[in-house]
């Protein structure tokens, strides 16, 4: 049983980072009691804001000496409870390490500190002809450190790849306070791909203090299309057909009627409200090939019963479409008192199956479900609309969510495509992996985090540890 945080520890932390970078008051700590996953809450005992790698190392060494648990946090937009301070302890918030240290266009990399917000890098690159490809919908708030920890995706990661495909190196502090450097701007170290293994490890292996990211050349042109379908079934079959014919668009997103109605209320875009689903499809690349790709996709959609396929008239309309898509969740918030999103993945040919399954589950539990998918990679995000004051509805939402994830597993998929396991889905690990798999994952964790003081109770089911009991979902605005 690790120790609690004592005044001596607070004192030690203040000496490392300065008193202005330590929070202890209950009212200040409340802000950090949960992240985008609001079902479970627990205040960390103390919040500390390191401003350099030496601070992080110093803090971690202190925690080890005093035998207290600790965990890292970025912007706290995790939807899986990755930053939940299970058992309290010291929380390292990295948002004050926020410099973009270098942008090197000739060698196509940038060096950023972990607290840099995703969109800051995009902004810093404006006009250079380059961008940082991973674009989670939360990019205006989430940090690159958090993106690395969760291996974030986004609408355009269909063609360009998720975070791990764009991280060349990391500097990190392991659970005993040692600063390590893996990979770097040249991107190919000797031996096992530790950079790749650290990306997506949800803060359980080390605290990331610096990241070398790959920069991607901007495409010469784009074509953005809106395909309108009378039935969701046709829309999902069109998605499978586009991928099946070997076309990988830059983005391929689906929104169903429930989402469209909400978006229309919020943004007055002019979406057809009688349509059951629309696909937002974007192709990009050199101009010379784009019209042909657009036409090919249009043909497929028409063949599968699209009522209309039209192209965004200009860049302003394109921007507006993407704004609608990325703020879909905010918009639904206006039509339901409570909502919660699931994150699952199916093979792309299984989209029609999983969609009809979702509808079946929706009527079985009598819970309204609307859908906005990263359809191109089979990543579904059903959103449950309910009233959290109604206990029966709450129970139904939890059961329905579990049933959808089970259906994803049954057709060869995964229980999370981008939000992570965190505390939310620890219970699903045994369904997806064998005891042997989990045993080896535990061995990997032990290598980096032998005493388990870094982010305990996350990601892996721990023998003997009490899982967090799921009682009530609340407003998880997501995607």
């Amino acid at each position: 049983m690790p120790n609690g945080v004592t005044p001596k520890i607070v004192d030690g932390l203040q000496r490392i980072v300065g008193p202005e970078n330590v929070l202890t008051a209950q009212s200040d700590r409340m802000v950090y009691e949960c992240d985008g996953f609001t079902i479970e809450k627990n205040c960390p005992d103390v919040i500390v804001f390191p401003t350099c790698t030496e601070h992080v190392s110093g803090i971690i060494k202190l925690c080890n000496r005093e035998d207290v648990i600790f965990l890292p946090r970025g912007a706290g937009t995790s939807l899986a409870g990755g930053t939940l301070a299970v058992g309290g302890g010291v929380m390292l918030v990295l948002t004050r390490m926020k410099e973009i240290e270098e942008i090197n266009l000739r060698d196509r990399y940038a060096i950023v500190q972990p607290g840099v917000v995703n969109i800051w890098l995009t902004r810093a690159l404006a006009g250079t002809g380059y961008h940082y490809a991973p674009d989670p919908s939360s990019q205006g708030a989430c940090t690159i450190g958090g993106n690395v920890a969760t291996n974030s995706g986004g609408p355009h990661t269909l063609k360009y790849g998720v975070t791990v495909n764009h991280v060349l190196g990391v500097e990190a502090v392991t659970a005993d306070g040692t600063v390590i450097m893996v990979g770097g701007p040249s991107g190919e170290p000797i031996g096992p791909d530790l950079v790749g293994a650290m990306v997506g490890s949800e803060g359980t292996l080390a605290v990331v203090t610096r990241v070398w990211v790959r920069l991607t050349r901007n495409p010469e042109g784009t074509r953005t299309m809106l395909a309108v379908f009378e039935s969701v079934d046709d829309a999902t079959r069109a998605i499978s057909a586009i991928i099946g014919e070997g076309i990988i668009p830059a983005a391929l997103e689906m929104m169903d009627q429930g989402i469209l109605v909400a978006l229309e209320k919020a943004f007055k875009f002019g979406f057809p409200l009688d349509a059951e689903a629309i696909l937002l499809i974007e192709v990009d690349g050199i101009e010379a090939g784009l019209d042909a790709q657009r036409d090919q996709i249009t043909d497929i959609c028409n063949r599968l019963g699209a009522r209309e396929v039209r192209q965004a008239a200009d860049d302003a309309e394109r921007q507006k479409l993407w704004k609608c898509r990325k703020q879909a969740f905010g918009a639904i918030g206006r039509i339901a008192s409570s909502l919660v999103t699931q994150d699952g993945v199916v093979p792309r040919t299984q989209l029609p199956f999983i969609f009809s399954k979702i509808q079946e589950i929706s009527s079985k539990y009598n819970i309204r479900i609307v859908n906005v998918f990263h359809a191109g990679d089979g990543n579904i995000h059903p959103v449950f609309l309910f009233d959290e004051r109604n206990e029966n509805e709450v129970k139904a939402v939890l059961e329905a969510g579990g049933e959808i994830l089970q259906a994803c597993l049954d057709c060869g998929g995964s229980v999370t495509g981008e939000h992570g396991i965190g505390v939310e889905k620890v219970g699903f690990m045994n369904k997806m992996f064998t005891d042997g798999d989990i045993e080896m994952m535990t061995r990997l964790r032990i290598t980096f985090n032998p005493d388990g003081r870094l982010s305990p109770n996350k990601m892996l089911p721990v023998a003997g540890a009490c899982g967090v009991e799921r009682i009530k979902p609340s407003r998880t605005v997501a995607m």
Partner: protein, 411 residues
């Protein structure tokens, strides 16, 4: 018969199923017998000469296709499958795994992943890391373990797909893999840009990086072995080979645009290769590093802008060497001829290594005729990756250090 002599193998056991393999590893673990996994035996000389006797495990019999859902653009296969077999299977469906590794008809998929071998197409298509989405392996203590799955986007659990990439067998024997696939482009072409010298090539590449033309590969070539296909290249003159993939329309547009850009970069006589020469050069580019007649083949990995000084240094020290560089990716492969008087270890430790470090990189020896000359330091340059952690990983995944003992940095 392949020469197993780089490894102290007492006996080769061929396994034909994953279960057989597990039993064998269990037995070896119980008896503390060292194991050398053998794939296509294309990289046995890679690493430091091993000294501990052990058995060779021929994995080529574990080569079944488990699941090939064509329209999902993924495939699950056993890891002993030959790259050439895998490629023909995929090509029949218009798909490909764009890892253009040497010796396709000998190399196995598991071996490619374990050595993290990548080819010239990495500039446009990425590397092994970008394609493995699911993996199964056997640890040194005979534990079967999986990670990832069969879907293209997945963040459940730790990612052993990545951890096993480049692990050289030391964290387990890879037995089954799921890969993400790409459609085969309808058209491929190569534009040759003869350059005055390495500096000139570097300027052209710097401009190409900002072009709207999106090459799949940017290759610097110098050495007489290229003369048969590219007459602009021989021992004293160099060229860039720029490879383009896409639809007819795209490739035609790129060729036109590229040739105009090249002429404003002072490249005279740029030209495209005909389809046959393109094919021939492409296989030469993929196979360059695999040459058992060479005295040694080294690979330097730096940032892209570091290539120019590495190539200059290589050519200055050994004007008789041949050089291929994936210049957009910072990779320089140097091949010393059989009769070269080079001291390979010295070359790497004293000359190329320090220069590579100035450009954030390092140098490895891919193969050397005189293995006895090699030391850990020369083979592995000066690895900056956290050795102590890799050692600890090895303890966890192969507690008795039975798989490939002594060949790699971390014993």
């Amino acid at each position: 018969m392949t020469d197993l002599s780089p490894l102290p193998i007492t006996e080769v056991v061929a396994v034909s199923s994953q279960d057989d393999l597990q039993q064998l590893v269990q037995q070896c673990h119980a008896d503390s017998v060292s194991m050398y996994p053998l794939g296509g035996q294309t990289s046995l000389g890679f690493g430091v000469p091993a000294r501990t006797e052990g058995i060779g495990i021929d994995l080529r019999g574990i080569n079944q296709v488990i699941d090939f859902p064509v329209r999902d653009l993924t495939i699950t296969v056993e890891a002993g499958i030959l790259m050439s077999d895998l490629n023909s299977l995929l090509a029949a469906e218009g798909l490909m795994l764009p890892l253009h590794v040497p010796q396709m008809s000998n190399a196995t998929l598991g071996g490619v992943i374990a050595t993290n071998t990548n080819g010239p197409g990495r500039f446009g298509y990425g590397t092994v890391r970008d394609y493995v989405i699911g993996i199964r392996a056997l640890s040194g203590d005979a534990q079967v373990y999986n990670a990832g799955g069969r879907v293209v986007k997945n963040v459940a659990g730790y990612d052993f797909c990545k951890l096993l990439t480049g692990s050289l067998g030391t964290l387990g024997i890879i037995t089954q893999v799921t890969m993400k696939l790409k459609p085969i482009p309808t058209r491929q072409a190569t534009v040759i840009a003869p350059v005055n010298d390495v500096q000139h090539a570097d300027r052209v590449v710097a401009e190409l990086m900002n072009s709207m033309v999106r090459p799949v590969a940017i290759e610097f070539l110098q050495g007489s072995e290229f003369t048969t296909v590219v007459d602009a290249v021989d021992q004293s003159s160099a060229a860039l080979a720029i490879v383009l993939h896409g639809t007819d329309e795209e490739v035609d547009w790129m060729i036109g645009k590229l040739r105009r850009e090249l002429s404003s970069s002072k490249v005279r006589d740029s030209h495209n290769l005909d389809a046959d020469s393109h094919e021939q050069l492409w296989s030469q580019l993929c196979d360059f590093a695999a040459d058992d007649t060479a005295l040694a083949v080294t690979e330097s990995r730096t940032v892209s802008s570091g290539c120019v000084s590495i190539i200059n240094l290589a050519l200055k020290q050994h004007p008789d060497c041949a050089v291929q560089s994936h210049m957009g990716d910072g990779i320089v492969t140097m091949k010393l001829p059989e009769d070269s008087d080079a001291q390979v270890s010295d070359l790497v430790i004293k000359t190329l290594g320090p220069e590579a470090r100035r450009h954030h990189g390092h140098v490895v020896i891919l193969s050397a005729a005189n293995a006895a000359e090699l030391t850990t330091q020369s083979v592995w340059g000066d690895p900056s990756s956290p050795d102590f952690l890799i050692q600890k990983l090895r303890e966890q995944f192969d507690p008795q250090r039975l798989i490939n003992p002594g060949r790699f940095v971390y014993q």
